[in-house]
Symmetry: C2
Subunit: 396 residues, 2 copies
C-alpha cells in the first residue's frame, strides 16, 4: 500500500517540469539550439573557477576525516563562522556562527524554517505571484499556505489584502525578494511598512509572527542596485539563502538559514533546526559543498549576462506591445499574455518553439514567466520569433 | 513561538553525541590520543584515492552545468544506471535505473521509504537492539515505531515476540543487517523465515507489508563472508544503502533506495520518493557525490582494519570475562556490562578515559556499545586500560 497522498500527486506534476521535458523532447527533433526554452530556472553561467579550484585543492590536501567525515549536527563550524562574518559585514547585523544553519539549498531552508516556527494547523501567508513549490514545502509540514492576492503590476506587498487575511492563526509570513516569477524587488518602504504591520499584529495576537525570507536571487539585482535585506527591518526574520543561483551550484544543494540575533529564541532556533533534521533524515548538506562555499563566500558567478538578457527581452516585449514591468532582479520576466487564457497563449507559442510558463499556479492567471538564464545568443535569435508569433497570432 | 515538539527534544539529546562531546572535551585536557573514545560511528579509514581522483578529474574537465546543474527530480540518470547495474550483477536481481533513488545517506533513504509505504497512524516494527535514531526517523513521519524485544545473545529475529506484535496496523518492518549495535548478521535461515512470516501476514491482513532494509554496513563483514541480501528473500523490499561506511564518506550524505522490481508498485515508488522530496525540501543528494560514487561504484575503502580491531577487542573482552558475542560485521561490539546498570558501568569507565555507550536506548539495557572505527594502535593501548578498569572496579 503506497501512501495515497503522494500517489495522488503523481498526476499533478509541476507545469514547469512538464514544459521543460517537452522542450528537451522537441530539442531531439529539431536540435535543442532551435528550441527557445524559457521554462527552467537552471543557471546558465559558469561556476567561478575559484570554487572549483578550492574544491580541487581540498581534495588534494585535506585529510579524509576533515573533508568527508560527519559534519557536526548543526553544520561545519568553519563554514558557519565564515557565513556569519560575511553577513555581519554586509548587512550590519551581528550574526555569530550559532545563528547560521547550513541547509540543502533554499528549499531545505524554508522547509526547516516553517517546521521550526509553526505547528500543524497554523497558517502561513505568502504573496502572489509566488513560486508554486511553496505549496508542498509548506503544506507537508502540516501548516497551511494561504496566498495574498498579487498587487499588479508592481508586485509590492498588497497591504489591504494582507490586513484582511491576517488572523490569530498566522504564525509565519513567507516573502521572496527579488521575486520569482516577477523579478520585482521589495523596496525599503515596503519592508518598513511590512515590519510595522507584523509588529502590530504580534502585539494584537500576543504571539510571534516570523518572517521567512526566501532569498536565492539576492545577488542578482540590476542597474547597480542592492536588494534591501529584509532581516534589517524586522527582528523575527529567518533568512533562507541558496548558493544555487549566485554560484551556479543548484545540483550541490547548498544554502543556509540565518536567524536574526534579535529574534525570539534566537539562541536555540539553530538547535531546533538540528532536531528537525533528525526527523526527516537530512542531517546536513554535503561537507564538500559547505567547505567549498566557505572558501569563496563573497564571490559570485559572472551574473551580468542575466541583465543583458533581461534588457533584450524587456525592450522587445515592450516594443511588441506586451504589458510588462521591467525586472529589477532574478532571471525572470513576467509579461501579461496576449489573451486572457495564459495556458492557451503558452500552447500557441509552442508552435513557434517558444517555451513560456503560464502563471496560473504562480497565483497570477493571465501572465507567463520567461526564465532567461540561457545564452544571450539564443535570446537574440528568439526575439524575431517572438515578434512573428505576436504578429501572426495576435495581430501585434 | 517555536514549535514545542522540537523544543522539548533539546533536553533529550543523543547519548552518543553527548558522550562524543565529553570525549572531545576530555581530549583538550589530556590529549585526545589518551581518550579511548569508542562512542561515535565515524569511519576512521581513508576514502579511496580513486574517489578523490575521480572528483578532481570531474572538476577539471566537466562543464559547469553537467557537474553543478540541477539533477533531474529523481536523481542523476547516469548514477542511477550505474547503481542498478552493480546491484543486479552482485545480487542477481534485475534492477533498472527506474528502481533506484539517490538519497542523502541511509537516514534520508529510511525517512523516504517509510513515508512512501506507510500512512500516519500505521505501525512500523523493528528489532532490538536497534539504532536509536530510528525513533525520530519513523515517528516524525506520523507512523509509530514499535520495538520487538531482542533475541539475545545472537540478535537474530525474535520470532515468538514478532508474531505477538504483528497486527493489521503493521505496514512496514525495518531491519538492519549487519546490525548496529550488535555486529550480528541475519542468516539466510532467518531471512527465509522472516519472508515466509511476512508473506503469510500480508495474506492474512490483505495488504502489503514492506521490508525496509537498512544496509550501511553491508560491505563490512568479517571472516571472508558475504552478508545475505534481504531483498533476495522477500519481494516487497526497499533496500536503503549509504556509502558513508563503505567509502568513508559520511559527510557527503550519499546513499540510495533500491526498490525490488517485484515489489507492489515497483514502477511508481521512485516517482513517489520524488514527491516526498518536494514536501521536505530535500530534492537530491549533491551532484558531485552522485557522480563520485558512480565513478567508483564497486570499490570500498580498506575496511580490513575493522576486523583487526574487532579481533583485538573481542579476544580481550572474552579473556577479561565479559559476556560478548563475536561480531560478524560492522565496526561495533556489544558486550554485557559488568553490572546490571550499563549507565553506571559506562560512567565508572569514564574515570579510566574509556568511552563506551550504554545501550538502554538501543533497546538492550545492561549492554554497552563500543565503536572501534579508530586506529588499531589506540585499540591496542586501550586493552590494558580495559583490563585495569574491570579488575579494579569489578574484581575481574
Amino acid at each position: 500500500m503506497v501512501n495515497q497522498k503522494y500517489k495522488d500527486r503523481l498526476s499533478n506534476k509541476s507545469v514547469i517540469r512538464e514544459l521543460a521535458a517537452y522542450a528537451r523532447k522537441r530539442g531531439q527533433e529539431i536540435g535543442y539550439e532551435n528550441v527557445f526554452d524559457y521554462s527552467l530556472g537552471n543557471p546558465s553561467v559558469e561556476t567561478p573557477k575559484e570554487y572549483n579550484d578550492a574544491v580541487i585543492k581540498m581534495y588534494q590536501t585535506m585529510d579524509s576525516m576533515s573533508l568527508h567525515g560527519y559534519s557536526p549536527t548543526l553544520g561545519n563550524t568553519h563554514a558557519r563562522e565564515v557565513i556569519a562574518a560575511s553577513l555581519s559585514k554586509r548587512f550590519g547585523i551581528p550574526y555569530e556562527a550559532k545563528h547560521i544553519f547550513p541547509t540543502t539549498g533554499a528549499a531545505g531552508a524554508i522547509a526547516h524554517a516553517v517546521r521550526a516556527v509553526t505547528k500543524p494547523g497554523d497558517t502561513v501567508l505568502t504573496f502572489a505571484p509566488f513560486f508554486p513549490e511553496y505549496m508542498p514545502y509548506i503544506n507537508d509540514t502540516g501548516a497551511e499556505l494561504q496566498v495574498v492576492p498579487a498587487n499588479l503590476p508592481t508586485c509590492q506587498v498588497n497591504f489591504p489584502e494582507l490586513e484582511k487575511m491576517m488572523t490569530e492563526n498566522v504564525t509565519a509570513v513567507l516573502i521572496n525578494s527579488p521575486n520569482n516569477p516577477s523579478g520585482a524587488l521589495y523596496t525599503e518602504v515596503t519592508l518598513e511598512k511590512l515590519a510595522a504591520f507584523l509588529n502590530k499584529s504580534q502585539e494584537k495576537y500576543g504571539h510571534d509572527i516570523f518572517l521567512i525570507s526566501d532569498e536565492p536571487y539576492r545577488e542578482i539585482v540590476f542597474d547597480g542596485k542592492k536588494c534591501p535585506y529584509p532581516s534589517k527591518y524586522y527582528d523575527n526574520t529567518l533568512s533562507c539563502y541558496s548558493f544555487s543561483k549566485s554560484l551556479s551550484l543548484p545540483g550541490e544543494r547548498i544554502g543556509y538559514i540565518a536567524v536574526n540575533p534579535k529574534a525570539t529564541d534566537a539562541d536555540i532556533l539553530v538547535d531546533i533546526f538540528g532536531q528537525i533534521s533528525r526527523g526527516i533524515g537530512h542531517n546536513c548538506p554535503s561537507s564538500t559543498a559547505q567547505l567549498g562555499v566557505a572558501a569563496v563566500i563573497d564571490m559570485t558567478s559572472d551574473l551580468s549576462v542575466y541583465e543583458t538578457n533581461m534588457n533584450l527581452l524587456y525592450d522587445t516585449l515592450k516594443d511588441i506591445g506586451f504589458e510588462v514591468e521591467r525586472p529589477q532582479g532574478t532571471f525572470y520576466i513576467f509579461p501579461k499574455a496576449l489573451e486572457d487564457d495564459a495556458v492557451a497563449f503558452s500552447k500557441k507559442a509552442l508552435k513557434y518553439d517558444l517555451i513560456m510558463v503560464p502563471a496560473d499556479n504562480f497565483g497570477a492567471p493571465g501572465y507567463v514567466r520567461l526564465a532567461y538564464c540561457i545564452d544571450t545568443e539564443k535570446v537574440k535569435r528568439s526575439l524575431p520569433v517572438l515578434r512573428k508569433f505576436a504578429h501572426e497570432v495576435y495581430g501585434k
